[in-house]
Symmetry: C2
């Protein structure tokens, strides 16, 4: 028995003493963080127990420190009380567990008050930030200070933590979209309460801490991503210099099977550096679900979407079976060279390419005004609005509209003020993500699609899927199970559908790049040396298992 | 006392038993690797004890396994006999310790027989290789199989291990020059004898093991670089697609101080992705030392090089105080756009830019033939030869000529067959490298130069220095102390000069990205949390300290 298990057993045997211990713990936490910054009222506990997943967990309490020193002190107290802690940045890990720990009863340490932008260097193009800094905040800071620097954005919404996404190895859209490659110098609170500086940061007076990630000696940063080895409280991130010229490339592929050759035609351009940003390839439903919810009435109770209705929605959105979308950054000449290369590569393909430019958008907006409230005017206006969101996103200005997919099957549809304050977990959205990595080949994309599609159909779900050119050689698939959380039967079907697709992906060797809490226990089906090694490092750095037990730790994740 | 120290103490007390144990060990090793593959004859031991450093160490024996399974078996035997092992790929870590372990008496495991190119995927542009695969071998393989793929080369010579350099976090010249960013999927023999597969490699049937480095869960690859946590026996490396167009950019800066503004003018182009490859900025002596050795007679016994003579050499090489050199890769349009951007950035600078093209080189070669053996003909021929080597290097064809600097002060000058079989350690070259990382700013380059230059002068050495644009925000400085190993006084001065510059760099916060054996002990002057963390991981993965004690392990590195 571990000390934690022991303590759990003792607690079961003695309820009174549990209450006593709990109040001792809370008092100690409050001594460090302040009375108001430790909460265990039912409302708070309920809020943190919400998840887009069918399965959520309840925290013991939530504490809001405002410095690394406080975090260190809290971790020490938790260790003394043998209570595990679950650090979150802002807790908006939508679709992957949200703010929930992997198991019940962990003390959530939310770092949202640590939201300082500690420095921005305009010459060397980097920022040093804390976990609470949101995409929106950093983006706005750069605008307010008139700095010619852009951030990489994700579609997860303006209020999500920049650092949190990096530590989960999320990806964005820009040339800096492979985010972990644009990080240097972390500060990490260890389970011992010590503060670790990675890279060169532990040398006094180091000049390149946030410029050169590797430092000297073993390069540790990677082990603090998708792990529970420490609590990162500061990170250096690189910023993109503003591009002289920006074009948005959109390629529409009318027929399903034709996406294969398009992927194969684009791959060489990603490999040779012509496409430096992360292109996204979405199916029709992925695009449609970005603009509206499930047409419940038109579908007359049917699930999934009847194919006739799907064809109509596709038609009225003016899209094909697949849409490829991504930005070209550079000087005017460089962007022109990239356009030339793209046109050449796609020549003769069953696909239609467009390059959105700022000028085209302006012209479109003007034309839409002239067309007024006619059907054509409305359609053009919607297209211009989407184009403007894409351009803003490419320039590092985040937008909540790309979260709409989470609301697809939600009973109430999109909230009235969407996308303002969009919060899929709080809004009771049902959403699960399977995110397999596949080789960047048309055949793999089609194979994965063919594997998932019938499973979705059988379970009554609409398959949304995006494949992102996450690096030069792979596509990161994001397959969404969007479901109605108010329908218990659908919740159960969603769980089965997710599980079925997850298992098929694993069997096919299309391993996910990231998983939700519900799948942590399934990451080590064979008891292999990789996970043994991870367990040994965990034991070395956190012998009492205080930090986030179960998080990317299959043997402590409980039942799947 | 650790078990190793204990064993050392016991050995001192009992010579006879030491000999007995040694022969037991050798017998056990031979049972695994074969009789011929375990050597402890004086010639072998002497060969492995050679180093360009003043301080070298002697191995216990050398063993040459030919599979990961053999490596695992050898490690287990070594653990049973409480003898540390020192894995090397081909042992050509010139200037950083060569084939030598950090301390005496380690069993060298040389992996040069494991030189299989296990697979090359022309579509997804990667190779899976073993540690013994050399730059030359991989380059030749791609040529032989007429694959349109190039490797990234270093100047360390054709016979150096590709993987070895990556594990030391070396860098090359091309867009793939930041080598660790172009690696996916390692196989590592652990001290336990287990085989660890990183990334997705530990999942059966994984499709993206060598395409997506991170895998799922903690990303471990970084901890097996510059470390002694395991023995990497296989690695996936990414290959560059052949570029449609290649230009080599050379920029000559006549006066020393003018390199500052040139760096500041080039930085935005590196930051915005116009310069995708690693530009190298060398001072006059770095360039001169690439073509000849120290002009002993002309200098009339003086050291360092008298300034008049230096000016003459500079003049006859046709170079300025600084030379910037690097390649542009892409389509014809992309390279033209990059040339345009470079010209614009350098307009009005006190610097002269040239773009070498294949056509220019051909014309130059023809002209040189016409000029015959005239002085102008010879000079042009030398320039053409250098240009051709640079072009070959950019295309991934390695060349030994860039090793010439190591021979600068060698008594016998360059060997007759140089660069064939060049081996600075065996050839008794004296060379030490200090390799600080500095922010990519002209002021930092000038500050570091101003710090090192007087130290070199006082100690009688010629300051060669290169600054490489190792990533988008830093310069990797390589400062060479080239000395005469046959002159004991000069050896001692070299050691002092090295140490002095090393200490000044550390104090200024210009921390080295990599160090030689002689500086391992100096990496942790303050006993900080980073090195404590490294020690904890080491203890978790290699509790008996069997693998390469002292290597990036300051507290086990002995006296500095």
């Amino acid at each position: 028995m571990t000390t934690l298990e022991q303590s759990a057993a003792e607690q079961q045997g003695n309820r009174a003493s549990t209450t006593e211990r709990r109040s001792l713990l809370l008092r100690a936490l409050r001594d460090v963080a302040g009375f108001e910054q430790v909460r265990d009222d039912p409302l708070t506990l309920d809020r943190y127990a919400r998840s887009t997943s069918a399965r959520s967990t309840a925290p013991l309490a939530v504490v809001y420190p405002d410095s690394a020193q406080q975090v260190a002190a809290l971790v020490k107290i938790a260790a003394q009380h043998q209570v595990p802690v679950y650090p979150i940045s802002t807790g908006k890990n939508w679709g992957y567990g949200d703010a929930c720990a992997v198991t019940d009863g962990q003390l959530v340490i939310e770092l949202s008050r640590m939201n300082r932008i500690l420095s921005v260097d305009p010459t060397l193009a980097y920022a040093v930030i804390e976990p609470g800094v949101t995409q929106q905040q950093l983006s706005q800071y750069l605008l307010d200070h008139r700095l010619d620097l852009w951030i990489d954005c994700t579609g997860a919404g303006p209020d999500t933590s920049f650092m949190g996404n990096i530590l989960e190895r999320g990806f964005g859209h820009s040339p800096y979209g492979n985010r972990l490659q644009h990080v240097a110098g972390m500060t990490v609170v260890l389970a011992s309460g010590e503060l670790l500086e990675t890279g060169f940061g532990h040398y006094p007076n180091a000049q390149a801490t946030h410029l050169f990630p590797y430092g000297v000696g073993p390069f540790l940063d990677g082990i603090f991503t998708q792990s529970n080895f420490g609590i990162v409280t500061r990170i250096g991130i690189w910023l993109m210099p503003k591009a002289e010229c920006l074009n948005h490339f959109i390629c529409s592929v009318p027929r399903h099977a034709d996406i294969g050759p398009v992927v194969d035609a684009l791959r060489p351009l990603r490999l040779n550096g012509t496409l430096r940003s992360i292109l996204h390839i979405g199916n029709d439903l992925r695009v449609i679900s970005g603009g509206r919810v499930y047409p419940r009435e038109q579908a007359g109770g049917q699930r999934p979407l009847p194919s006739q209705l799907r064809a109509e929605l596709r038609e009225s959105a003016g899209i094909g079976a697949w849409t490829v979308s991504g930005a070209l950054y550079g000087s005017t000449l460089q962007v022109a060279a990239a356009r030339h290369a793209l046109r050449k590569a796609l020549k003769g393909m069953a696909a239609e390419s467009t390059f959105l430019t700022e000028r085209k958008l302006k012209t479109g907006a003007m034309l839409a005004r002239l067309l007024g409230n006619s059907a054509a005017g409305k359609r053009l206006r919607a297209k211009v609005a989407l184009g403007e969101s894409l351009f803003a996103m490419n320039r590092g200005i985040p937008n909540g509209r790309f979260l709409a997919g989470a609301y697809w099957r939600r009973r109430g549809g999109l909230p009235a003020d969407f996308p303002r304050n969009a919060n899929p977990a709080a809004d009771n959205c049902g959403m699960l993500w399977v995110s397999p990595i596949i080789p960047m080949r048309g055949a793999d994309l089609l194979a994965l699609h063919a594997m998932a599609e019938p499973v979705f159909r059988e379970h009554g779900f609409d398959l949304f899927v995006t494949f992102s050119m996450i690096n030069e050689r792979t596509l990161g698939g994001v397959i969404t199970v969007a479901y109605d959380k108010d329908d218990p039967a659908e919740v159960e079907r969603a769980r089965q559908c997710y599980r079925n697709v997850f298992d098929r992906c694993m069997a096919a060797g299309y391993i996910p790049y990231r998983v939700g809490n519900q799948s942590m226990a399934d990451l080590d089906p064979h008891g292999d040396v990789y996970w043994k090694t991870v367990a040994r490092i965990k034991a070395a750095l956190d012998p009492d298992g205080i930090i986030a037990p179960g998080r990317y730790q299959p043997d402590k994740a409980g039942e799947s």
